[in-house]
Symmetry: C2
Subunit: 295 residues, 2 copies
């Protein structure tokens, strides 16, 4: 079993770290809040005072943090990972961040003979808990092969999608599709309700055809109950779509629908819905149409 | 077996009429072009010179026409269905038209003790041929029950979704979701390609998660080959989205993403892509990003 560092024990990171312990790995952890650190220590992990100290003790180091600036600080900041890293360390950043940031951190790491893989996940807290995340990995193939068995302790799949950055590009593509598919469902069901059809019957009639999607299967039942308990919070989807739009602007690729969807999501967030599940996007449509889609 | 009229033997109507003959029904047909009429007559149908004459000979009359004005003309025009209709006739309009038009035609029919159901289909030519269309039916429940066995000679499913008009509302909801989901896929895969990831690997990595959809399963393989042979033509999707936007404007329900998608589709149609499969929407993105998603 490997000696693994884990930095960032939030909603996602904590259950992921637990799954590594359960698989029998030796774990050195660090996180800002002491609660989750203590919980992991009770379960058998060792606590380290800062990212540098984690790096000094391990061969593989996983980071799971909110966004690009957090990852930059933990990797290249004072008492950061790169200060403590030995030659040959593999950093697996499982945060969802801007692909460009993953690429520049990988470049910086390489100067110290350290490899950085970007390996964001899809699936949310329930799949983090039961170890069935989908993990999208960018970076050198040999490093991917070394860490793949460890990733599979946290995920149902770990797919190598290309060079470093490709993991987060894939994640952004995922979030663009999910966000826009949720808006598509919202637009269609609001129209159906306002025009006088029964949205539940509409969903039944179209789910088996070309309009079928995992979003329709997972989110339409929530929408038909008016239940927006997360799941995946609107404010997090805003963060991901911001990264997608930034990346699109950087590489010159148009994202007109994502731009509309983020505007809707920001509007909802400003009106107190930031912690609703992203399926709650339909409320933007419902308010404007003056209709409720729920049964 | 029933005595059935069938008006409109186009790409969809001709194979649907063939399936009714195969099921053993007596068929009276009418269509503008003589070719398909002759083909059906050879297969055992009787030809009638106009919609009025069809109506005089049958108990159930199916129309399968391009758009609202065509249906209006055939039903209430000179020598139209309502001129020949006996009391108790059931008209099943399987065209995809504006829900409001279906509703006013049903009202007009009712004055002659004729019932009109709106029953648009989803699935395209291949499913019309093998009789596996998805049929969405609006109108009185008793009339629906009478015609359901006949509809199932043409479709894998025939679902009663509400009052007359609800069939087309459901179809519009379907087309909104399909069109926007195609745009979502296009936006995401173009970004992935332009940012340096392999679109085929991205599709593999995300299809099993929340981004999964029938559009991704059916259209991504076409997109990755640059193959836009229809399938369902962009110009037909423009027609359906026009009906969705008109209906949205009439009932006051916002369709911002559909409005963007129709703009993209019209732009492609103006540049010679009107007969491409709607999966060819990605060409709008590819041209603007200056990248090809195909492998």
């Amino acid at each position: 079993m490997a000696r693994i560092g884990f930095i960032g024990l939030g909603i996602m990171g904590k259950p992921m770290a637990h799954n590594l312990l359960k698989a029998g790995h030796t774990l050195v952890v660090h996180s800002r809040s002491p609660g989750p650190v203590n919980e992991l220590v009770e379960a058998g992990a060792t606590a380290a005072p800062n990212p540098k100290s984690v790096a000094e003790q391990v061969d593989i180091l996983i980071t799971m943090l909110p966004n690009s600036p957090d990852v930059e600080k933990v990797i290249k900041g004072e008492n950061g990972v790169l200060e403590g890293a030995r030659e040959g360390l593999i950093i697996v950043d499982m945060s969802s961040i801007a692909p460009g940031v993953a690429q520049s951190l990988a470049k910086l790491a390489k100067e110290k003979a350290v490899t950085l893989l970007d390996a964001p996940v899809s699936g949310g807290e329930p799949k983090a808990i039961d170890g069935s995340l989908a993990i999208m990995v960018g970076g050198p193939a040999d490093a991917f092969e070394k860490v793949q068995p460890i990733l599979l302790n946290m995920g149902a799949s770990a797919v190598h999608v290309g060079e470093v950055g490709a993991g987060n590009i894939t994640k952004l593509a995922n979030q663009v599709i999910v966000g826009v598919n949720i808006a598509a469902m919202s637009e269609a069901l609001t129209l159906a309700a306002k025009a006088g059809a029964d949205p539940a019957k509409v969903v039944d009639a179209i789910s088996g055809g070309l309009a079928g999607s995992t979003v329709l299967n997972m989110k339409a039942p929530m929408v038909l109950k008016g239940n927006y308990k997360p799941g995946f919070r609107i404010e997090l989807h805003i963060k991901d779509l911001n990264n997608a739009l930034d990346t699109g602007a950087m590489v010159n690729s148009p994202l007109p629908l994502s731009a509309q969807v983020i505007t809707m999501m920001k509007n909802l967030a400003e009106h107190g819905h930031q912690s609703d599940d992203h399926g709650g996007l339909i409320q933007y449509y419902e308010e404007r149409a003056g209709v409720k889609v729920r049964g």
